[in-house]
Symmetry: C2
Subunit: 547 residues, 2 copies
C-alpha cells in the first residue's frame, strides 16, 4: 500500500526546510522561474554589496551549460495533445551560475552562514536596500543544491590581505552550513568583492526574454553600474555605466514611534541603557528629540523619570497605543531614501522609449506604518511607445525592476481601476507608457518572491497622486497638440481661401489692386501662438479630480 | 542623530522573528486583514482537526470587544483630505477571539509548541488538508501577542480523562513557547477538541463583509459542519449541517517518483531500512510496486542489489533524473483526494444563486510535480446571478473559500485571458457565475497567506478544460433557449395568421366550412419539439476548440 491512515505527527521543521518545501512562495516555482530568480537575487545582492560602501558596481554574471537533464511532467502540453503521455522536456538543463562583484565582501567567519543558512544575514536592518527578506540568494544556492546535489563555491575578500574560498552545502533539516572545503589565498592586489558559483537546474531558454528585460531595466535605473551577462551560448550583454556618481549609501534608521508594536518596545527595553523615559525615547526612536519627547510624556501622563525596564506589560501596551495616537511626532526622515530623481527617470525613459512627450514627477516623502517611502512616476507618450491597446507599465521598487505578476501590483490597480483616463484625454489606443518607482526602508511586498507590492492605502494614494500629476501634464500636452492641430487647419483654410476671396472681392469692386491679406493672416497666426501659451490646466477638472 | 552610517551586521533571526517582521506575506498586513486572517486560519485548523478523525465538526467562533484603541496612520485618508493631518481611526479595537472545536485535540506535551512556536506542527505531511504551511494559526496568536502583549489560552483534550489548559506566549527572538500557566481538569464527559482564546487588535467593521462571505462559502462546501459565529455586537450567525456524511479522512501519501528531488532521496536514505534498491523503491515511493520497480531498474541499469545507503552523491542525482525520465510510473493515486463531488457542488450553487441553468463537472485526477489534484467546476446562468458586467467567480482550494486577490489567481487568468467566451454565446452582460474547486495534497499557493493559486501549467490546463466543459453545456442550453424562443415566435405568428388565411381562403373559394388548421399547427409544434431534442453540441466548434 502506498498510502496510510493519517496520524497526528507533531514535528519542528527548520526554516531551511520550510522554504525547501515551499519554494514556490520564494519565486522558485519551476525551472524557468528558478533561473530567473537565482540570477536576479544574486545580482541584487551584488548591487547592494557595492552600494553600501558607495563602490561603483562591476557585476559579472555568467551562465554556462553543464549538461542536459530532460524532464517529464513540468512541460505544459500543447492544446489538443494527449495529456497522459509524459514527454521529456528539452529546455531543462544543468547550468553553472557564476556571479562576481566588487562589493564590500563578506568577512571570512560569516561566509558559511551567510550563504548556507536561511534567515541569517546582513539584511535585517531598516534601510533602503534591494534585499528585504535576506532569503533570495540563499534560496538560489539551496535550489541549486536540491537539483544538482553539488556544493556552492564562495570566494570573498573585504580587501584585506586574504581571499577566502569556501565550498559549502546546507544541511536543510538543521539549517546549518556544511563546510566541505576552504582555502585562503593571498590578496596581492587588494581585491574586494564576492564571487558565488554553483550548479543549478533550470530552463534558460524560457527565462531568457524576461531575464534580458531584467538586465536592461536594471541598467536603466542603475546608470552607475557596469553589468555584464554572458549567456549559455556565450553571447555577451554589456551594460556600461554612464556615470560614476553614486547614490548616497543607504542609512539605517531607528524605529519610528508610529510604526512600533509591543514586541519592538520589549526588545528595546531588553537592551537599553536608558534609565528614564526621557532618555529612552530620545535614544531609540526616529526623530524624537527632547522637546517632542517631553510633549509626548506630558500628553500621555507617563512619568518622565520612570525606568523603562520597570514598565509592566500593560504599561507597554499603553505606551504603544499612546505613541500611535500622539499627533506630535515628526514624519519619518526621507533623507535615508534614495529616489532615482527626475533627471535619471527622464533620461532612462528617453533612452528606452524615445517618446514624443515625457513628464516625470518625484513625490514628496510619505510614510506607512512608520516606514518612509517616496513614489516617482514618469509618463511617456508617442514616439517609440508601442500602441498595444493598453498602458505599458514599468515597475521598480528600490531600483529593482519587477517583471512578473503585474496584475497583482498596487500600481496596476491604480492605473486600471482608480484612474479615469478619459479625463486625461487618454483613450484605449493611446500609445502610453508609465514608469513607477517606489523606494522605502521597507517595500511592502506581498510575496517573498518580491514581484509585487501590496495595496497599502498610503502607498496606493501616493502612486495615484504621482500618476495623476504626470497625466495632467500629458493632458495639457495633448490639449495643446489638439489646438495647434486645429489652428493649423484653420490657418490652412484661411491661407487657401483668403487670397481667392481677396481676388473675388477686388474683381467685384472693380478695383485693380488686391488688398494685402498678409497682416490678416499674421494676426490669425498670432492668435494661434497665444493659444499655445495659454495656461492649459483646466481648474475645473483639477478640483473635480480631487474630490 | 536618529540615523547612522550603515555597518554590515550579520545575524541569525528565528523563523518567528522572520514572520513577525514580514507578517504582510502571511496575510496579516493591516487591522482588517488581521482579523479576517486570524478567524479564517483558526476556523480552518478546527475543521482540519475534525476531518482527520471523521468527526462531524462543531465549530464555535466568538469575537468580542475588549476595548477601543483608536489609531493613527493606518486609516486611508479620504480623497482631498489633508494627508499630513493624522487622525485617530475609530475602527481599530482590541478584541477577544475564541475558537472552539470538537476535533481530535492536541496531546498535552505538544500544546505549547503547537500554538507558540513557528514551524512546529502536524501539517508537514503530504495529504489534502486546508493548512499547508503550518503557520496561519500561530501567526494569528503571534499577531495577538504583538498587538496586545497578552498570553493566549489553549484548552484541549484528546478525549482521555484530562483536559489541559495552558497560558502561553511566544519568545519571538528564540521562537520558543513561554508557558505562563497550566492546569489539568477532569474530563468527566470525555470531551475532545480544542479551544483557543486570545486578545488581538483589529478592525472588524472593515473585515465584516468578507468575513461573513467567508463563513457563508465555507458552509456551502462543508455541509457536514455546524459553524457558529458570534460577532462583537452579539449577532449570531449559524450554519447548520445538512448531512453527517463526512468525506474520507485525508490520507498521507508517499512521495511520487516524478515529484522527488535529491534532498528527498537523501532524507529517505538517511532513515531507510531497505538494503537493496528493489526494497527501497517499493517501500518509499507512491505507487511503485515490484514489477514497476523492476522495469525501472532494468531501464536505468541501476543494480537492484545495490544498497541505497551506499549511493554516491552523483548517483543520487542520476537516480532522481532517471525517475523523472522513466515513463512507466503510475500517475498519483487520487483516492487520497476528497473532491466536493458534482452533487454537492450543484446543491451549493443552487442554494446560493438559484440560477436558471446550472452545469457542474468534476475532472478526472491529474498531477503536477508528483502531487495529485482534481479540478471541479460549476457554471450558473440567470436566476439570481447578478448582471455585473463581468463573470462572478467563486474560488475554493481544499474546501477553503479564497476571497482576496482574485486577479492574481490562475482561474482568473483562464477566465479572462484564455477563454474565448464568444464561442460559448456568453456576452459581457450575460449573468454568469463560475465556481472552481481545486483539491490536492499540495495546493500550489503563491503566497503564505493562501489567497491565490500559482499558474502551474498542469493546473491551468485542467481548469481550462473544466471551464470549457461546463461552458459548452451552457452554450447548448443557450442555443436551445434561443431556438425555442424563435420557434415560439414562429408558432405564435402561424397561430395568429393561419385562422385568418383559412377564413379568407374559404371566403375566396366561396365555401362555407373553413378547413381544420389544427393538424397543420400541430405539425409545426412537433417540429419545434424535435428542435428541442436535436443534439446541440456543435462538433465543428468542439474540434476547433481543442486545437
Amino acid at each position: 500500500m502506498s498510502t496510510s491512515r493519517p496520524k497526528e505527527v507533531f514535528q519542528e521543521i527548520s526554516p531551511a526546510d520550510f522554504f525547501y518545501r515551499n519554494r514556490d512562495i520564494a519565486g522558485f516555482s519551476n525551472p524557468s522561474r528558478a533561473i530567473y530568480s537565482a540570477i536576479r537575487e544574486l545580482t541584487e545582492n551584488s548591487l547592494d554589496a557595492c552600494e553600501v560602501h558607495q563602490i561603483p558596481p562591476d557585476i559579472y554574471v555568467r551562465l554556462s551549460v553543464e549538461g542536459e537533464t530532460p524532464q517529464l511532467v513540468s512541460a505544459p502540453p500543447e492544446e489538443g495533445e494527449e495529456e497522459e503521455e509524459a514527454k521529456p522536456f528539452p529546455g531543462v538543463r544543468t547550468y553553472t551560475l557564476r556571479v562576481a562583484d566588487n562589493g564590500s565582501g563578506v568577512p571570512a567567519e560569516f561566509i558559511p552562514s551567510a550563504f548556507g543558512q536561511i534567515l541569517y544575514g546582513s539584511k535585517y536592518q531598516m534601510r533602503q536596500m534591494r534585499g528585504t527578506f535576506g532569503l533570495g540568494g540563499k534560496m538560489a544556492i539551496l535550489y541549486g543544491q536540491i537539483t544538482t546535489h553539488r556544493p556552492a563555491k564562495i570566494t570573498s575578500s573585504t580587501g584585506n590581505d586574504k581571499i577566502h574560498v569556501f565550498e559549502i552545502m546546507t544541511d536543510i533539516q538543521k539549517n546549518r552550513p556544511i563546510i566541505l572545503g576552504s582555502d585562503k589565498l593571498e590578496n596581492e592586489r587588494g581585491w574586494h568583492g564576492t564571487i558565488v558559483e554553483f550548479s543549478i537546474e533550470g530552463d534558460y531558454i524560457r527565462a531568457m526574454p524576461k531575464l534580458l528585460e531584467y538586465f536592461k531595466q536594471t541598467a536603466m535605473v542603475t546608470p552607475y553600474a557596469n553589468v555584464t551577462f554572458v549567456d549559455p551560448d556565450g553571447r555577451l550583454y554589456r551594460f556600461i555605466r554612464a556615470t560614476t556618481k553614486m547614490p548616497q549609501p543607504p542609512k539605517e534608521i531607528l524605529p519610528h514611534p508610529y510604526g512600533v508594536d509591543v514586541e519592538t518596545i520589549r526588545r528595546i527595553i531588553n537592551v537599553t541603557d536608558a534609565e528614564d523615559m526621557m532618555d529612552f525615547l530620545t535614544t531609540h526612536f526616529h526623530r524624537v528629540g527632547k522637546s517632542i519627547a517631553k510633549r509626548f510624556l506630558d500628553a500621555t501622563e507617563i512619568d518622565p523619570a520612570e525606568n523603562p525596564t520597570e514598565l509592566k506589560p500593560q504599561e507597554i501596551v499603553s505606551l504603544v497605543q499612546a505613541m500611535k495616537n500622539f499627533g506630535g511626532f515628526l514624519p519619518p526622515d526621507a533623507s535615508v531614501l534614495s529616489p532615482l530623481g527626475e533627471d535619471l527617470l527622464e533620461a532612462g525613459i528617453k533612452k528606452e522609449l524615445n517618446p514624443e512627450f515625457i513628464a516625470v514627477e518625484t513625490r514628496k516623502p510619505s510614510a506607512y506604518s512608520g516606514f518612509p517611502f517616496i513614489v516617482e512616476a514618469g509618463i511617456a507618450y508617442g514616439g517609440d511607445v508601442p500602441r498595444t491597446g493598453s498602458i505599458l507599465l514599468f515597475r521598480f521598487a528600490n531600483r529593482i525592476p519587477l517583471l512578473y505578476d503585474e496584475a497583482s501590483d498596487v500600481t496596476y490597480k491604480v492605473i486600471h481601476t482608480t484612474m479615469n483616463w478619459n479625463r486625461y484625454k487618454v483613450a484605449q489606443d493611446t500609445p502610453l507608457a508609465l514608469v513607477i518607482h517606489i523606494c522605502s526602508t521597507k517595500i511592502p511586498y506581498k510575496t517573498v518572491g518580491k514581484e509585487f507590492i501590496a495595496d497599502r492605502p498610503e502607498v496606493e494614494k501616493e502612486i495615484l497622486k504621482a500618476v495623476r500629476e504626470v497625466s495632467r501634464k500629458l493632458a495639457s500636452y495633448l490639449t495643446r497638440k489638439e489646438s495647434i492641430e486645429r489652428e493649423r487647419k484653420r490657418i490652412d483654410v484661411f491661407s487657401r481661401y483668403l487670397p481667392k476671396i481677396a481676388r473675388f472681392s477686388t474683381e467685384l469692386a472693380g478695383r485693380k489692386k488686391e488688398p494685402d491679406i498678409n497682416p490678416l493672416l499674421r494676426s490669425l497666426i498670432r492668435y494661434a501662438k497665444e493659444t499655445r501659451k495659454r495656461p492649459r490646466l483646466d481648474e475645473e477638472e483639477e478640483r473635480d479630480d480631487n474630490q
